[in-house]
């Protein structure tokens, strides 16, 4: 019994020191991490809506449904939103920029873990570029990557599905 208490005490002391260290480290890196996340988000939004200047998140509860994009004159030009879905071997997260008339400005693959060399090529600009200026009704015409049909089709479908949903929401946006 005495032994057990002594062991417990030593282990507890080690844990106390460790958590103190981690707490200190957390308060050092936390602001930096938040800044990184926000910086990346802004950079990604600029990438899919190159003409956008101001991105205003539209929220439902705590979740962001889409970003309302205004150009530098403050005019509403479109939206940016995230779309995710299952690919061949992973969940693919994309960020999509769409103008008000329902054509895609650009898409960007945020996260994917498809087969390296095949499906992973969906993240390359040679594929994502195929979406630019396409109307969301005509996305199914986009050519898939050779040897990566499932991953390519998955991107096309998940973008189209979400785009239609968002378009219905922003019909009356000015």
């Amino acid at each position: 019994m005495k032994e057990a208490l002594r062991y417990g005490f030593i282990l507890a002391m080690i844990c106390v020191v460790a958590s103190g260290l981690l707490g200190g480290m957390n308060s050092l890196t936390r602001p930096k991490i938040i800044a990184q996340v926000q910086g990346e988000e802004q950079a990604a939004l600029r990438e899919v809506m190159p003409e956008g200047q101001h991105f205003e998140p539209i929220k439902k509860g705590k979740d962001i449904i889409y970003y309302k994009v205004n150009n530098k004159d403050g005019k509403f030009i479109g939206v940016a939103f995230e779309a995710s879905g299952k690919g061949y071997s992973s969940v693919i997260d994309t960020l999509v920029g769409m103008t008000q008339d329902g054509s895609i400005a650009a898409i960007k693959i945020l996260n994917q873990n498809e087969t390296p060399g095949l499906g992973a090529r969906i993240a390359e600009s040679s594929f994502t570029g195929r979406f630019t200026n396409k109307n969301i009704q005509g996305l199914t015409d986009i050519q898939a990557i050779t040897g990566a049909t499932i991953s390519s089709k998955a991107v096309i479908n998940l973008v189209q599905e979400k785009a239609k949903e968002i378009q219905a929401l922003i019909k009356n946006e000015k």
Binding site: I10, L11, N26, T29, E40, T115, P116, G117
Partner: protein, 197 residues
């Protein structure tokens, strides 16, 4: 000084954690798809190894033998969490590429193995050099494996195309390719070892 250098050197070839001790193969298989991932993982693991080896050697006398494993795990987990926070703050791209394998350094057998087999019986300075050597050995092994996989599997090294019009063998970029490359390299190192004996 010469002894310390020997402690450092043994981790690189004679007791290489991947090819000779055959420890920590899970992250090796998983992240060796590209050289940059290999280097990132290697540096992260080296930092954790260094930290945990030094701390374990420092507190070895106050840890009772019967609860040493949980104590080691707490020390290792602390260093891993520090590494992860630092990566997230300064290199989010690398952190994303390495994904779940950063937190999983906690259960990387190399780290616990060195604490258990070496640091808890040795001086702080020796443990420091042992950790450094093992970390560098692990990093070099990762660079070798991921170099082969990236070069033959996607025709690139660090993102630069090597040879034009080369049709890469995609299989090397997949998990089966990792097993193939590691298996062949292990065999090769065994031949080397046999020769020396």
């Amino acid at each position: 000084m010469k002894n310390l250098f020997k402690e450092f050197l043994k981790g690189i070839i004679r007791e290489n954690p991947t090819f000779v001790l055959v420890l920590g193969l899970c992250p090796t298989l998983a992240v060796s798809t590209s050289v940059i991932n290999g280097i990132g993982m290697g540096i992260a693991a080296t930092f954790v190894l260094l930290g945990s080896n030094v701390i374990v050697a420092l507190i070895k006398n106050i840890i009772p033998a019967r609860i040493r494993i949980p104590c080691f795990i707490v020390v290792i987990a602390t260093f891993v969490t520090i590494t992860e926070m630092t990566m997230k703050a300064y290199s989010p791209a690398l952190n994303r590429a390495l994904g779940i394998y950063v937190p999983l350094i906690v259960v990387n057998c190399i780290v616990l193995g060195r604490a258990e087999a070496y640091a808890q019986k040795q001086t702080v300075l020796n443990s420091l050099f042992d950790g450094l050597g093992m970390g560098v050995g692990f990093t070099l092994a990762l660079i070798l494996i991921s170099g082969i996989r990236e070069a033959l599997g996607s025709g690139k090294i660090l993102g630069y195309t090597l040879v034009q019009k080369f049709e890469p063998a995609f299989v090397l970029g997949m998990p089966s390719g990792a097993l193939l490359v590691i298996g062949l390299l292990l065999g090769f190192f065994n031949i080397l070892k046999g020769r020396r004996e």
